[in-house]
Symmetry: C2
Subunit: 477 residues, 2 copies
């Protein structure tokens, strides 16, 4: 079954035939995500070039009760951007709306369309003498609309916040085609409910974000990173607190990694040089930024590390000597997720807890995982300063990957149950999409689910916006 | 007309007779705000001591269609916390729920009930070696529940954000008495829609916030403030950009004031010593914080000011020499609003624009005001770094205050119309309440008002929560 030809034609007329994809080979890149975990079918893929076109698409979708799946750079990890298998849904990819409408360094804002690639936005900000601090592994292909729709996090949340914190204004097309034009550049505006915060992180289930005003920051004068070896997550936590106290907001990253995942990165990634000579069970990558000078960043960090060494909190440390080495240290961290692929099947978790619970979390999940499979290899890394770990589990060396993958629900449940006992989250930054919808339904409070469903019904009474994602809401479709 | 005695008794039974106020003299402090701008009547004032009691109150209110007006420290400036004149509404003041449930410095969080006075929360954080950075003129009496319900701003937004940015988790009693328990201590949690952000800033129209988890920060090692005299708002803007670039997040305040309002503060406030010897048309108060040391804060600020002086950007500057002087400088700024009272009638505006537009805003509003009344005295001060000014207008010296006050709508309209042309907000931090409801209805986009109303109807279908505030929504009451 597929979409009725007359309807396909009406949708195609909005964007022009060239930008309405119907052939399987043209649609293919939009129907599966790169890892192959989620794949679907679609009646049509539309590539609108303007807010007016998106508005016309959604008006027609409402009129005809057609389900719409919004998509950005197709880098989402929970299947939020992938249509179902019916062939009845229409994918609307925003990639042609990739214009930076305005950079206003004097107001520290940039106004960008949803399809702007994150890395292009970073570059445009830098060219204007400003920093746009959202930074993710997928920044070369993810788009700002998707970043906002999933409330993306990344490596600089510690100092600058997540996508929601970085957004001042939005333009959103509502399910019936109306346009909410709230592209304001205001740091403070208490005129009514926080609609902006609601669309951000809604994963395209309440409307389509078509443009945004984002915050810019002054560029730091100096950046230095340190790689630290330490004995335990407890030692790393103590380091984190001391670093936060001594550095304040100059501490812009504090990443924790275990030795297993570092060895994967060294083995399979582009960086082959271990940052430290000896063997250490745990590693920390921390970044210090100064607005005074590079020399100040370096001396402040060196002084801090000297006191940590003296206090016996760390076993060894290396400070980046130049930009090349700074990038090399970061590359080791950034290659971790990718490197894991070469070690066979892996099960991934994107979990968060109150930061003080990180050591207990690692201890308890470790026990739970080893109970299920003593030879499982735990690849634990993440944004410790945010209380957020990417707690991944690689199959036993030489074992059967398929068999291991088939047990994923057991592992997910074991890890998420530990997280729940610690007041944590089973999706710190990746969202719900289709992958975690049942987990949300299983673990969220009924009151919270009812409020979310009430919002969904109020905003999208026909249920045409990304149905089946985030919530399972019965609607009047 | 008043509430039916049987109903009064049922409400009173929930909190106990002692905490259900019905006599006019007992209710009086809850029915009018200190400035006397808003006053109402009530059938009853309830002082619940627990979330369970608030829940029972709202369940009964829903059952009986009784309108509820939530109240904190009664310091709101837009009448959001004051009942109407019907005598049929019930005020629920949270002041007895003033327990700090937990301070967790290792997770950088504090869990506090809604009735905790802001200053007590600041003190408790400091006693635990942490900073809670929300700071307002009314901090000695305002309560954290009210701060959240109005998304309070204040003097430290520049570096730490407003109340919404500082909140990680909420406990909210919904209009039907159900309790949303979302008191999580997570910096990152992308599991569904941002309900928290929605209740924050809703001014008690969607439910009653009973407790919150708030973010704490490391205490800075040093704080220094500088008082700068400069020629114009344009010079101040240039100073702001240079200071932000050189200081980054160490710049924690950047306040702009004109000479008129400084003279009011010197004349009527506790601080009589002008910070600078000569006369300057515009003044800036900036604060620099260091996590290294007090000496570092001082030397960094001195170095910065030397370059500004050299570049001709400022006319004169004084740096606080000790804590006493730091407090004196801040007192001059903080007394401004209060001092204005002694200068007769005044009209107040809480406006924001993109920060680059501040000079143009001051120019255009000045022209508009002088056109209406050439002898009006403009008392302009505020959080320039946030693009937010408290743009107040005092009556002509020796003129008729009542006559001047009667023209308030003319002045409000003139100022707000200028703000609107610059993409600004007519309520940057004070909210809507009853005072600005019509202004919101007049200026907000229909789409935005419809979405807000849809949320209101979905959350409060009976319309019992703070009716007549923020929105004018027809409901099934």
């Amino acid at each position: 079954m597929t979409l009725e030809p007359g309807l396909v034609q009406r949708f195609a007329a909005i964007v022009g035939a060239r930008h309405a994809l119907t052939r399987a080979e043209d649609m293919h890149p939009y129907l599966a995500e790169p890892r192959g975990l989620f794949a679907g079918r679609a009646g049509l893929v539309l590539l609108p070039a303007s807010t007016a076109q998106v508005s016309a698409i959604l008006a027609l979708a409402s009129e005809t009760r057609t389900a719409i799946v919004p998509q950005g750079g197709n880098t989402g990890l929970v299947g939020g951007q992938i249509p179902d298998g019916s062939g009845q849904q229409v994918v609307v990819c925003l990639r042609r709306m990739n214009r930076i409408r305005e950079i206003d360094p004097a107001s520290n804002t940039v106004t960008a369309e949803a399809g702007v690639v994150l890395q292009d936005l970073q570059a445009a900000a830098e060219a204007a003498g400003r920093l746009f601090p959202l930074a993710l592994a997928s920044q070369g292909s993810c788009q700002i609309g998707g970043n906002l729709s999933s409330n993306a996090g990344g490596t600089e949340v510690l100092a600058y916040g997540n996508a929601r914190d970085l957004c001042l204004g939005l333009e959103v097309v509502l399910p019936d085609g109306r346009v909410l034009d709230d592209l304001r550049k205001l740091r403070k505006d208490n005129t009514g409910y926080d609609l902006r915060g609601l669309f951000i992180g809604a994963e395209g289930t309440l409307g389509i974000i078509t443009a945004a005003v984002l915050r810019l920051f002054p560029l730091p004068a100096g950046r230095v990173v340190a790689w630290l070896g330490c004995a335990s997550p407890q030692a790393a936590l103590e380091l984190y607190h001391r670093a936060a106290e001594k550095a304040g907001p100059a501490l812009t990253a504090f990443e924790l990694m275990n030795d297993t995942v570092l060895s994967f990165s060294l083995r399979h990634g582009s960086e082959k040089q271990p940052p430290l000579a000896g063997h250490h069970p745990w590693h920390v990558l921390m970044e210090y930024r100064s607005h005074e000078s590079d020399a100040h960043a370096r001396s402040a960090l060196e002084e801090m590390l000297a006191t940590f060494l003296e206090a016996g909190l760390l076993d060894d440390a290396a400070i980046s000597q130049d930009v090349r080495q700074l990038r090399a240290f970061w590359a080791l961290r950034e290659n971790m997720s990718e490197s894991q692929k070469h070690e066979g099947a892996s099960l991934k978790h994107d979990i968060s807890v109150p930061v003080a619970r990180i050591p207990a979390l690692i201890e308890a999940t470790g026990r739970a995982v080893r109970r299920l499979e003593p030879a499982a290899r735990i690849a634990c890394f993440g944004h410790m300063g945010d209380g957020n770990l990417h707690y991944n589990i690689s199959q036993p060396e030489g074992g059967d990957g398929r068999q291991f993958s088939e047990r994923r629900h057991e592992f997910h449940r074991a890890v998420h149950d530990v997280v729940a006992t610690m007041g944590g989250s089973f999706s710190a930054e990746h969202g719900i999409g289709q992958m975690k919808r049942e987990e949300l339904a299983r673990t969220a409070s009924p009151v919270s689910l009812e409020l979310m469903s009430a919002i969904k019904r109020a905003f999208d009474p026909l249920g045409i916006m990304n149905p089946g994602k985030v919530l399972d809401v019965s609607t009047r479709r």
